[in-house]
Symmetry: C2
Subunit: 332 residues, 2 copies
């Protein structure tokens, strides 16, 4: 008899760091596969800010929360190790929302085969949620035009780094908001951003003004926090703001307040929130848009790999501290 | 020699009530018309909240401010009384931005003939800025669908009353925010709104919740102020907010803060500001959309008529106090 490990969510976060008391680590017996089923051994799981929404009890959120006692939700890549399903053969590489588990029993629903000859880390960093999210938000809301100025927060993060590189490739001036000088260095010298603001150490208003002399046309908001106000004040007429993440405000009881809406009229701004689950039907079109940039070598990425299933628990806190360097991935 | 009266803007408002110190009342000699020119005797002028923007020095605004010493800007309707212009005959009824003046010398630029056999008050209340603004914001941003719930602030005002009636005609549940019981009574019993919240006397959260049991799909924001927060909290997923006016916040040194943007993501809201000068090219299409509703008797209006050119000065303050009953019009 062989067992495997999974992690269930057993309590909901109340703000502040994510602790082990929210989870239960369970040993389970490997299931035998039924008719039309197959078993996946998961090799890499993705950690994403969206998980805070999935853990929260808020029923208004865009995807139902994980039920208490269920395996924590996450996307990942694995290999089919046993199969009674004619569409999936042993050895096939598959991707989907398998959750925090070493093995996953499936009838095929929600899993897709991975065809691209790229490592798991590259797939999860670019062609999974981060790349799709960046592409959706940038093009459907941001509507970037060559010569314009784009600011992206969380610029060294998995979504932000792709947003900035797509915009650079499209001929925009791109400024990234980051939380460390190492990240500032990376986005400028490795990714080709035109400038960076370190929101922890720079004078936000001054640095932003110096880097965006022509104002800001597109703001891709991944973080929330105090920087939002400063970017907002520098938006140009007809500016577009894609609101993708507000991690800095999720962990606060009283979130930062956004500025008055007077600017929304004066500058005829469009502010639009989006989440990928609304756009899963558009994934083929998004991949078609994204793939040429990747194939032309215009999208670099870096993965921050944690080792072992249980590292996911404390790994989530890296989103709050900002200490991750690149896309957070758990290697099983 | 005949003279006429005009009013120049000579200082900019600094917040608070509009006083006579901002204006200079001048007597001028009636000009003689040159080649290709004609003279209009203005009969009715429109007072609009947009005027506060026109008076302000803010160069980021959507239309250049009125220069100090120039005639105060406003739209109005008048009659051609002398003409050397082959396109405009004596007796023609014309409309345009003639400003606070009894007579207006024109070469035709910016003036249009009024063909509709309706009184000046009706034209200025429905087919001028208010109706165009309501139509533009409601359909291009609000995207109303039968069965949805719309909330409009400034609901007894010139724009809000048309927004609500258009939405009712389209099969929505329509709730108006007003500042008096008399206005609440008018929008419900005369205009057919489904309900009203008196923002001065009602418990905003409770009344709004009772009137919008299915949440709010479209918010047409004409006023700003504390009600905004309560409406925002009740927005449904994929809700649309058209930001048209923020009068309650223009006169404050420190404007009300809007709530955090977390809801923008959770509910994938779209918040968009607009002003009519961006859409003057679309006026024919907007009139085409609006006219059938008017012809079918679905758009009622009421005009609040002030007497005499100088009444415009103190009349502007009615936007702050909310004591106007219907579209503010000055009869010359």
């Amino acid at each position: 008899m062989t067992t495997y490990t999974a992690i269930n969510l057993i309590a909901r976060p109340t703000g502040g760091p994510i602790g082990p008391e929210l989870f239960e680590i369970v040993e389970k017996e490997l299931p035998s596969i039924g008719k039309g089923q197959f078993l996946v051994k998961q090799n890499h799981m993705s950690l994403d800010p969206a998980m805070f929404g999935w853990m929260s009890p808020d029923t208004e959120s865009y995807i139902p929360p994980v039920a208490l006692g269920d395996v924590m939700r996450s996307s990942g890549i694995g290999e089919v190790v046993e199969s009674n399903h004619e569409g999936f053969q042993v050895g096939d590489r598959v991707m989907g929302l398998m959750g925090w588990t070493q093995y996953y029993l499936s009838d095929g629903a929600g899993l897709n085969k991975v065809a691209a000859p790229l490592p798991d880390e590259a797939i999860l960093s670019v062609f999974a949620l981060p790349g799709l999210t960046a592409t959706q938000g940038l093009y459907s809301i941001g509507k970037p035009k060559s010569g314009e100025t784009l600011v992206v927060s969380g610029a060294a993060g998995s979504v932000g780094s792709i947003v900035g590189q797509l915009a650079k490739a499209d001929g925009l001036t791109v400024i990234g908001i980051v939380g460390s000088d190492e990240k500032a260095d990376w986005i400028i010298n490795e990714l080709g951003f035109d400038g960076a603001v370190n929101y922890k150490t720079d004078n936000l208003a001054e640095k932003l003004a110096a880097l965006t002399p022509n104002g800001i046309d597109v703001y891709f908001e991944n973080t929330g926090g105090a920087i939002q106000h400063h970017v907002y004040e520098r938006m140009n007429a007809h500016g577009r703001i894609a609101v993708c993440g507000m991690i800095a405000d999720y962990s606060k009881e009283v979130p930062d307040l956004a500025p008055s809406w007077i600017n929304i009229i004066k500058k005829r701004l469009t502010i639009q929130g989006f989440t990928m689950p609304d756009h899963f039907g558009e994934i083929p079109a998004l991949l078609e848009k994204l793939t040429p940039y990747v194939m032309q070598g215009k999208i670099k990425h870096r993965a921050h790999v944690l080792e072992g299933l249980e590292s996911a628990i404390t790994g989530l806190n890296l989103f709050f501290t900002g200490k991750n360097k690149g896309k957070l991935i758990v290697k099983l």
